[in-house]
Symmetry: C2
Subunit: 190 residues, 2 copies
């Protein structure tokens, strides 16, 4: 492993999400059916992200959804590895699962996931965790798959009422995968 | 003009807007400074849109802002033509202006703008008018310039609380203009 670049360079912390054009990552009632159009993907950017993912840091909402929806397994089951769920109320870990619960500071959770990722990327699932990473200035990149639909309501990509300090980004990649638009950004550190 | 394709074919009704990655077309307090980054544009898609614009149909908010901000002139003053402002409380038209106020049904307002556009496109400014066009099923396309920034609050691209019928789109164009990402969509009619 000593010559493996992925193992010897520091991985990135990447927020990976699917979004409607109008900025929702889930519809009302956490619906995701709008993201299942036949003319979307497969996406090269998504495939590359799966390859580069060393660990996942997810929010409690994602975990609770994953218990009831098999398709909410990381990358639909096409990836195996350590998953850390950030929660203030850790439940008993499900038997045989690679899920571990972490509490406390976001920086510590990211550090734990980084160690587990062993030089590959830490992928963040969920806007609450991602926003905490942004606030702590530990988010490196955002990979968004934009679905050509207007939802009008649901779970927002980024919600910060009264925000007076925009988060500046730099687009580093742009691609289309069928009707999906893949956008990748670096977060400009403060 | 009889052989001019633009004059003999029906123009489209196009919602043209700038948007933050997280789906805001204006920040808190209608701020637009986030869209003035030096690394954005000029955009070919925007230039083509200006060329194709025969008339503008705008909302009252846009009009009120245009009175106080010279940069809110249509396309920063680089376009001249008829502007229709949809409002239930028409003020006195400013002297020497190409602005006309229209009230009543959105379909009638669009028809008025279409006539004035004489075969070229009617461009819609403002989410309230655009949403009314969507509801009346008279919006043909959406052209969005995505600015690489997260605002977290402000005026939403599309807000419809409790929406249970997503508006399906088909992406027809994708381009980058510096750090700006230009996305064009056709609205799937119901």
């Amino acid at each position: 492993m000593g010559t493996d670049a992925a193992a010897t360079t520091a991985g990135k912390v990447v927020w990976h999400t699917t979004m409607s054009l109008d900025g929702f990552i889930a519809g009302p009632g956490d619906s995701m059916d709008w993201a299942l159009r036949a003319d979307l993907g497969p996406t090269e950017a998504g495939t590359a992200m799966i390859r580069d993912t060393g660990a996942i840091l997810a929010g409690r909402r994602w975990y609770d959804m994953s218990l009831t929806r098999p398709d909410w397994a990381p990358y639909g089951g096409s990836w195996q590895g350590p998953v850390f769920v950030l929660t203030h109320r850790p439940p008993a870990p499900p038997p045989g699962s690679q899920v571990a619960f972490v509490s406390g500071e976001i920086r510590d959770a990211v550090a734990t996931a980084r160690t587990a990722a062993a030089g590959r990327d830490v992928v963040v699932f969920g806007p609450t965790v991602a926003q905490a990473c942004l606030d702590a200035d530990v988010l490196d990149e955002i990979l968004v798959h934009v679905v050509p639909v207007l939802l009008g309501d649901g779970v927002r990509l980024f919600a910060r009422p009264g925000a007076d300090r925009p988060v500046q980004l730099q687009r580093t990649a742009l691609a289309e995968s069928g009707q999906l638009t893949d956008l990748r950004f670096e977060v400009t550190r403060r």
